[in-house]
Symmetry: C2
Subunit: 349 residues, 2 copies
DNA sequence: ACGGTTTCTGAAAGCGCTTTCAGATAGCCA
DNA sequence: TGGCTATCTGAAAGCGCTTTCAGAAACCGT
């Protein structure tokens, strides 16, 4: 066999390890590690040598080995009901923002509004090894809490408030109630709700409850035929409103679980010859990008997803690093008034 | 100190390891590993014992140790230009679908249409130890290719075609040209383009080029004042169309980089008293959820993001597992005709 | 009952990094 | 220059799993 210099002999399959850097720099792997992790107490010349050797070799520390050794994965998991939903995408993106700054990676997973699936996905993340976990909502599989507790990693819930678990969110019932009160103040008395799936979804459920209670507080009730649960999306909104009309006298105002649903309902209303807001006031949830551009612009409950994400990210990082945190961070939703709401026509209320 | 049974003495901080399971089941860690990884050749009674012990202890294998030992991280990275963009979210979601089935995890990162940022993010993923990498487009930092090569992991590009690198996508120039030809067939002769950022974005660039060439092939040209580059989003679309009108005679048709841009352009057109498609035909890109629900429903180039994601996921898994793959998978985009396009008014062309 | 297989199993050697610990060096003052 | 700190440094011991290898156990036919 020919005697070639190391650089060339090196089979391309094997990437350089700390040992190689150490050899090349004429130091031990301990020193390599010290240099590469910025710990003080390495003489300048050796530090220099290590740096150069690492550079030359294109050395990249093996993440698994590091994780095994430090018992830190430098990763945080997040399980959201629907990874394609605008609000959740935004929260993921903002959590990641914060994590990235702290050197952490976000691993996102999809639970599809199903507690069992959520348990499966979260378990998967836990097995992979994450240093923290973000969940959505306050209702989860009991086993999930047990597993999280056993794993000993911090967890934070988002988008709703909780008295049991650390959380960053808002009071879904209260904010929906606020919308209902606003409609009642305008003079509406027949108010309907079109929500997405409520099963395994405390936010959706709380919103409807909040609305029902707000109505009750003023001597009104949420008629069953005006309380519709459909699948998310524009199509869902159309179907939902159609269904509502089929059920009896039309409401003069509706509150929808998302802006997409509201959009669908508005389309259906128009198709039925109802004008918005003349015949029907519509309120959405989320303040999606398109909400101000609908015709008419949509009144909606703005959920500050980005802020929630930032706060959740900060919370997890802090706990991972052993810093103190507040258990509950409230980032209130906000009713954004636009043109899709107005007083009911005289005599219609 | 009291003599309590192991179960209780166990400090909650330390989670059980294979050794604990082995001890409890009365076998060695080798056997534990064999059982938990489903490898054959373990007698039924021992297998049973291990299973129960693992169950009782709530044992979860340490991912880092496993990764270190098997040299498989069981994770794939994906860097997309904008994690909040519908098309990319969909692709991520469908890649993840496939990965999940194969037991892999997706780690997504955001490049923000910037080659340097993309390099940074991808490097970060590489350092973490992903087993494969998905990128968007065929234009990347040269160092990135070098690092991927050195790391020896498979990479696949998406959303465009490439002769150099494995890819799953479509011919952006050709599909945009198809849209232009369709408009010309309708009789349009003044056709404009509103695209998102083109720098560091081969897809956007290719689309405009494709349109310009299609026009040229019929003796027309893309006037500079009809070639607008703006930021993505509905607002961008409005601004873009406004800018286009300021530049000179209005086009009779426009092709937009996304449906959001098209939506914005339509809003602006209406605000200017132009009717769609009467005075202006509009074509978008992506076939977003809302496209069929706009007024009028939007003609658009449907990009099969989910299929692209599935194919990309399959491609990576196959290569990770050493199975053969095709270098180039074409998943053609499709022109979806709706009501936002029509022949130009007589004499306007 | 016995040698020859075939199956199972455990000891032990990694995987590549971090970190402790003790020894080596350098620095300093008298 | 010698002795005593204050710094640096490397050897080695993990981290928790997988996997090889060789020995033990079980099985078989005669």
């Amino acid at each position: 066999m020919l005697d070639l210099p190391d650089d060339i002999l090196e089979p391309p399959g094997r990437s350089p390890v700390a040992r190689d850097v150490a050899r090349r720099a004429g130091v031990s792997t301990a020193t390599v590690s010290r240099v590469l992790n910025g710990s003080a107490g390495v003489r300048a010349d050796k530090r220099e040598a290590v740096m150069r050797a690492a550079q030359d070799l294109g050395f990249v520390a093996n993440g698994a080995a590091r994780a095994l050794s430090t018992r830190r994965f430098m990763a945080v998991g997040a399980v959201v009901p629907n990874i394609e939903n605008e609000a959740f995408v935004r929260v993921l993106s903002s959590v990641q923002d914060r994590l990235r700054q702290a050197g952490y990676t976000l691993i996102a997973a999809n639970a599809g509004y199903d507690l069992e699936d959520e348990l499966r996905e979260a378990t998967f993340l836990l097995e992979r090894g994450v240093d923290g976990l973000m969940l959505v909502g306050d209702i989860h599989h009991p086993d999930l809490y047990a597993r999280i507790a056993r794993s000993g990693i911090p967890m934070v819930q988002t988008f709703s408030l909780s008295r049991e678990h650390p959380c960053v969110g808002f009071d879904n019932a209260a904010s929906a109630a606020r919308a209902a009160n606003y409609l009642m103040d305008l003079g509406h008395r027949r108010i309907g709700v079109i929500s997405g799936q409520r099963k395994d979804n405390d936010r959706g459920g709380a919103r409807v409850t909040g609305i029902a209670q707000a109505l009750a507080a003023r001597g009104l009730r949420l008629a069953p035929e005006h309380d519709i649960e459909i699948s998310y999306g524009i199509g869902g909104g159309r179907d939902g409103f159609r269904q509502m009309l089929a059920g009896g006298p039309a409401p003069t105002a509706i509150i929808c679980g998302t802006d997409q649903i509201a959009f669908g309902a508005m389309i259906e209303a128009r198709a039925r010859g109802l004008s918005v807001p003349g015949d029907l006031s519509v309120i959405g949830h989320n303040d999606s990008d398109f909400a101000p551009f609908l015709d008419p612009p949509l009144t909606t409950i703005r959920i500050h997803s980005a802020e929630i994400g930032h706060a959740a990210g900060d919370h997890l990082i802090a706990r991972i690093q052993g810093r103190p945190v507040v258990r509950l961070t409230e980032i209130d939703a906000e009713l954004i008034l636009r043109a899709s709401t107005a007083p009911p026509r005289r005599g219609a209320g």
